[in-house]
Symmetry: C2
Subunit: 201 residues, 2 copies
């Protein structure tokens, strides 16, 4: 189901809209992570359409400062700022269970830098785990196009190691050993529910 808004237009993710104004950046910095986001959105639509799970990406949090209300047309936000998310980007429901994850991409071949996560997100994931939710991160190595499912409890170990003065990244070998390679799919592209099935059901 392609969700359409009342104006009949298809939903265009915010980041794409912004990027379209800055074509020079399309294939460099601003586009980082867009492949993973797009593949996950397609995957979530696949799961949604087939009634397998209801998982959505949360909207980008924005602090709105000024809004114009022109007569006879839609309100226009004239000044706003990106806010740092206090939770993860994706959540929803699968077979009654709460599913919550963050997705990140790296161009490193050998390790995943922990600075990709914010402290708030780690705190959030710990709280989700305490509530018996299914919490994990999806990590994509762009160079090899490998996508891993890393359970949050494993991520906490690496995070705590860093906090105690240890390395600021997770080596790829560690991710291979403590996470799960998500086999590349066609429909869906990133079949992460298969890992949840294996771990929880």
């Amino acid at each position: 189901m392609a969700i359409k808004y009342p104006n009949g237009k298809k939903y265009v993710p915010a980041a794409t809209g912004a990027a379209s104004k800055k074509p020079a950046l399309q294939n460099s910095y601003s586009n980082r992570g867009m492949t993973l986001e797009k593949d996950l959105n397609d995957t979530n639509i696949f799961y949604l359409e087939r009634g397998l799970a209801v998982i959505h990406k949360k909207p980008t949090p924005v602090q709105i400062v000024q809004v114009d209300y022109p007569k006879r047309s839609a309100a226009v936000i004239k000044e706003a700022y990106f806010q740092q998310a206090s939770t993860t980007d994706y959540n929803g429901v699968y077979r009654g269970r709460y599913v919550d994850f963050e997705a990140k991409e790296t161009r490193s071949a050998t390790a995943f830098p922990l600075k990709n996560f914010h402290e708030h997100q780690i705190i959030h994931m710990r709280k989700v785990e305490e509530q018996n939710g299914i919490s994990f991160v999806i990590i994509r190595f762009a160079l090899t196009e490998e996508v891993f499912y890393l359970p949050a409890c494993q991520l906490f170990d690496y995070w705590d190691r860093m906090e105690q003065g240890g390395r600021k990244s997770i080596t790829k070998t560690e991710i291979e050993n403590t996470g799960f390679l998500i086999p590349k799919g066609f429909q869906p592209l990133i079949p992460y529910l298969s890992v949840i099935d294996r771990l929880y059901f």
Copy 2:
């Protein structure tokens, strides 16, 4: 826990920021529903701090059209538009279960107009129910300050009745009979988990 962003400022909900630029509207249209939203946010913080549940309001979906990137300062969104949400506003996890709801307020004394919900939200709630999630709406009657928990399955009945040509609202008596009055609390203000306990655990 008051969530603070890296600039050290407390999170200010978008709608408040927008309203502050339009003081004339503060106590009329633009402020409608803010009491309920604020009370629910306080309730969710209460539940979060005590480790009882992890439930958040989703950010307002915004379509970003133009962003300026000034040197040495934060990116400024210069043109953006409010989008209609395709899901409900609140979701999270309670004792492993997925919780999902929408909250609405009315100034009517006798009935709750169904136009407060969008078709997309009803479709979303049906999918959540199919996945065995806990789906409901919170309805506040502003005049009497009564707050009700109405299970989604009941809402579907009223929605379907409207679709079949019936009344376009739910009478207050119907809400009293098929929903649950949430007793007014102090800590938390709207103790909706107590209804979930009664219905699901």
